[in-house]
Symmetry: C2
Subunit: 404 residues, 2 copies
C-alpha cells in the first residue's frame, strides 16, 4: 500500500516466506519465462523463523535508475534480466491502472528504490531467491496498489525465480506447469491454507557444505538435456504424485504425505545423478539424515517423519507437532544441546526434552557421528502464512535507506 | 580333466577371473533361475591380479555328501540352493554322457569334494561370488569332461550367481537377457577376446567401507519392485547402450566406451536411489573418484578414464595402457606411494612415475583429501583371459584337502 509523504516518496513494505518443495521443481521447458517441465508443490515455512523483508519505494525525486539493495549491498540491477522482467511487468500493470484512472499519481514513471534483507544467512543454503523475488513482487505490487491476486502475481514472480511464485501464498502451494507457450497459465495456487493443517513442522539440518556442486539454474538444464531418466519423472511420475499428495494434504494424511515427499526427493536426486556429467547435491551427512528418518519411522512403527533435499546437502525433515519429541527430540539428543537454532517460536514442545524420543540403539550407529559432526545448525520451524504487509520500512519517509 | 588315481580319486582344477560390468546387471525377472531384467556387459579382469582357484574332485570312497570348502572354511552346501542347482545341472550332463557311453566311469554317482580359494580378501568388496561360481562350474565341468562350451555352461553358472556367467570367458563378455521362461537363452557370450583390445587397464580403488548397505540380491529386487524409474532403464536405456558399447569395443573407441560405462554406472545408482527405501552404495569417497575422473578428462582434453561402481563404494577406473601416467600416475600421486597394491603385473609403466600425470591444480581440491583418507588400497589390473586349467590341485591324489 502506498503512503504519500511530504516529499512524495511512496513506500510499501512486505515480508515473504521461504518455501520448501515436497514435489520438486527441476527443469525448464522455457528458460527465459521460467516455465517448468513439471508441476511442483511446496510447504510455505513460517516467517517467525525465516523471512525476507522488502521495502519498495518510488519517487519522482530519485535519480533516474531503479536500484536494489540486498542485505546492505547494492545489486547490479541492470544486468539482472530476471529482476528487470519482474519490474517491467509490474510497471505495465501500474501503467494500465493510471491510464484507466488519470487521477492516480504516475508512479509507473518514477524510479524505484528497493531495499531488502533476509533474517537468515544466505550461506545456510536455503532457497533465499524464492523469498527474495516473492517479497520484491509483493512489495512493488503493494506500492503500485495493484488489484491482481497472488495467483496472478505469481506469473511475475516466477520470472524472477521459478520457485518464488510459490512464496506468494501461505500453507500448501502448487505451481501448475501450464500448457501455454507464453506461460500465462503457469501459476501458483493455494492447495490448502496453513490453517487447514497447522501442525506441520519442519526441521532444517544445515549441513556444513563445501562449495556447492552445480547452481540449480545450470544443473536443472543439464538434467533436462542429458538424463535419460528425466522424462519419465517429468511426464509420468510427477503428475501421479501431484494428485496423490494433494489428496494427502486434503486428508491431513501424514504417512501418505511423507512417503510421497521422500520418494520425490529421491527421484529428483536420482535424475541429478543420471545427468551428464552427474550432479551430486546430497553428501554422506545427507544420507545419514535419510537413514535416521527411516530408522525413526521403523522404530516408532509408523511414519512420523519425512526428509526432503533441495539442490544442496541440507535436510528438511517434516513432522507433525504431536510427534515433536519422537522426531525433533531424537535429533536434538543426537546433535547435542550445543547445536544452535533450537530456540524460537516452535521450540515449546522441545524445551523439556532431554532424552531422545526414539532410543538411540534403534538408530544405525553410522548415522550418529556423521550427523553430529556434519550438522552445523538447525532451524526449527513450521508451516506458515504468505507475505505480510508491515509498517517497518527499510526506506525513510525522505527516501533514505534505513541503516542496518 | 579327470585324472584317475590309485585310489580312484578324480580331480580337476581351474582358475576363474573376476569381471566388472560396464553395463550393469540389476534386477531379476525370475529370482530362482537368476534371469535378469536386462542384458549386461563386462570386462574380465586379469587373473594375474585376482582369481579364484578351485579343485573339484570326486570319489566313490568319499562320504556320501558333497562338500565345499571355501578359503579354508567348510560351507553349508545343503542349505545353498544355488550351489545345489549348479551341481545338479552338472551331474545331469555327466549322467547323459555316461548313459550314452557305458564305458565311462560313473562319476555322476560319486560324492564331490570341492575346495576353493581366492587370492584376494573377500572384505575388499570385489565381486567374489562371480569368480567363485564360475570356477566351481568350470572345475566340475572339467572333472566330468563335459563337452559343453563356456556359453552353454554359462546357463549353469548363472544359477549360482547371475554375474558368474560372465566369468566363464575372457575379454569383453555380454550376458544376453534372453526371452524364454526357462532361461535357456539367458547366456553369456564373448563380444571380443582380451587380445582384441589388450590395452584395457582397470584400477580398483578399494574404499574403506563401513557395513555394506543392502546386499545386492535383496537390493536389486527392491529396485525392481519400487523404483518408478527402473523400467525405463531396463527396457529402453540399456538396450541402446548395449548396442553402442559393443560397437565401441569392436572399434576400440575408448572415449565412447568410457562415456557409456560412466553413464550406465550413474543410471544404475540413480535407480538404487529411486528405490523405496532408497539404496545408497556410493559414498563421499566414491563421489570424489567421480570428480577426479571428470577432472582428469577435462584437464587432458580427451576422455582417458572411466569410472564404474558396483553395489558398493569401490571405484573401478578403466583406462588404456598408453594413458597409464595420466590416469594411474595421477591417482598414485594423490594417494601417495604408501597405499598398497601398486605392485604386480601391470605396474611396469608406473614404476618410474613420481609426479602426477595431470597437475593436481586441475583437480577439484575437495577430491584430494577425501581420496587420500578414504582409499585403503588399490588393485592395479587389466583385461584378461577366462578360466584356465591348472595342475596345482587343492585336493591330494588320495582325496585329502591340501593344507593352506
Amino acid at each position: 500500500m502506498a503512503s504519500e509523504s511530504n516529499q512524495s516518496v511512496y513506500r510499501a513494505t512486505t515480508t515473504a516466506p521461504v518455501n520448501i518443495a515436497v514435489i520438486k521443481y527441476w527443469g525448464k521447458r522455457d528458460t527465459t519465462l521460467n516455465l517448468p517441465t513439471n508441476s511442483s508443490l511446496s510447504v510455505t515455512l513460517s516467517q517467525k523463523s525465516l523471512r525476507t523483508l522488502t521495502t519498495a519505494s518510488c519517487s519522482a525525486n530519485y535519480p533516474t535508475e531503479d536500484t536494489l539493495n540486498l542485505n546492505g549491498k547494492p545489486q547490479e540491477i541492470q544486468s539482472s534480466k530476471r529482476t528487470l522482467a519482474c519490474l517491467s511487468n509490474l510497471r505495465a500493470l501500474r501503467k494500465a491502472l493510471e491510464d484507466a484512472n488519470p487521477s492516480l499519481p504516475k508512479l509507473s514513471t518514477h524510479p524505484l528504490r528497493i531495499v531488502s534483507e533476509n533474517n537468515f544467512p544466505t550461506a545456510a543454503g536455503l532457497a533465499s531467491s524464492a523469498a527474495g523475488f516473492a517479497a520484491l513482487v509483493r512489495a512493488v505490487a503493494n506500492l503500485y496498489e495493484l488489484p491482481q491476486s497472488p495467483r496472478e502475481l505469481s506469473r511475475i514472480a516466477r520470472q524472477g525465480s521459478g520457485s518464488a511464485c510459490r512464496s506468494l501464498m501461505g500453507g500448501y502451494v502448487a505451481w501448475r506447469t501450464g500448457e501455454l507457450a507464453d506461460g500465462s497459465d503457469s501459476l501458483a495456487e493455494e492447495v490448502a491454507p496453513a490453517s487447514h493443517w497447522p501442525e506441520m513442522r519442519a526441521l532444517v539440518l544445515v549441513v556444513s557444505a563445501e562449495k556447492k556442486d552445480v547452481p540449480s539454474t545450470e544443473g536443472m538444464q543439464t538434467t533436462v538435456n542429458t538424463s535419460e531418466l528425466f522424462a519419465t519423472r517429468a511426464e509420468s511420475i510427477v503428475p501421479q504424485r501431484m494428485d496423490a499428495i494433494e489428496a494427502a494434504i486434503r486428508d491431513r494424511d501424514f504417512p501418505k504425505f511423507a512417503e510421497i515427499t521422500m520418494r520425490d526427493s529421491n527421484t529428483f536426486h536420482a535424475t541429478c545423478l543420471d545427468s551428464w556429467p552427474p550432479i551430486f547435491y546430497m553428501n554422506d551427512v545427507s544420507r545419514a539424515a535419510v537413514r535416521l528418518v527411516h530408522d525413526i519411522n521403523r522404530a516408532v512403527g509408523r511414519t512420523v517423519a519425512a526428509y526432503t533435499f533441495d539442490a544442496g546437502p541440507n535436510a528438511v525433515i517434516y513432522y507433525e507437532e504431536k510427534d515433536s519429541e519422537l522426531v525433533a527430540g531424537t535429533v536434538k539428543a543426537i546433535l547435542g544441546a550445543n547445536t544452535t537454532g533450537w530456540e524460537g517460536a516452535f521450540y515449546e514442545k522441545l524445551t523439556s526434552v532431554t532424552a531422545p524420543g526414539v532410543a538411540l540403539e534403534n538408530i544405525d550407529s553410522r548415522v550418529l557421528d556423521v550427523l553430529k559432526d556434519g550438522v552445523s545448525r538447525v532451524i526449527l520451524t513450521g508451516v506458515g502464512e504468505g507475505p505480510i504487509t508491515v509498517d517497518e520500512h527499510l526506506v525513510t519517509e525522505t527516501g533514505e535507506m534505513v541503516s542496518q
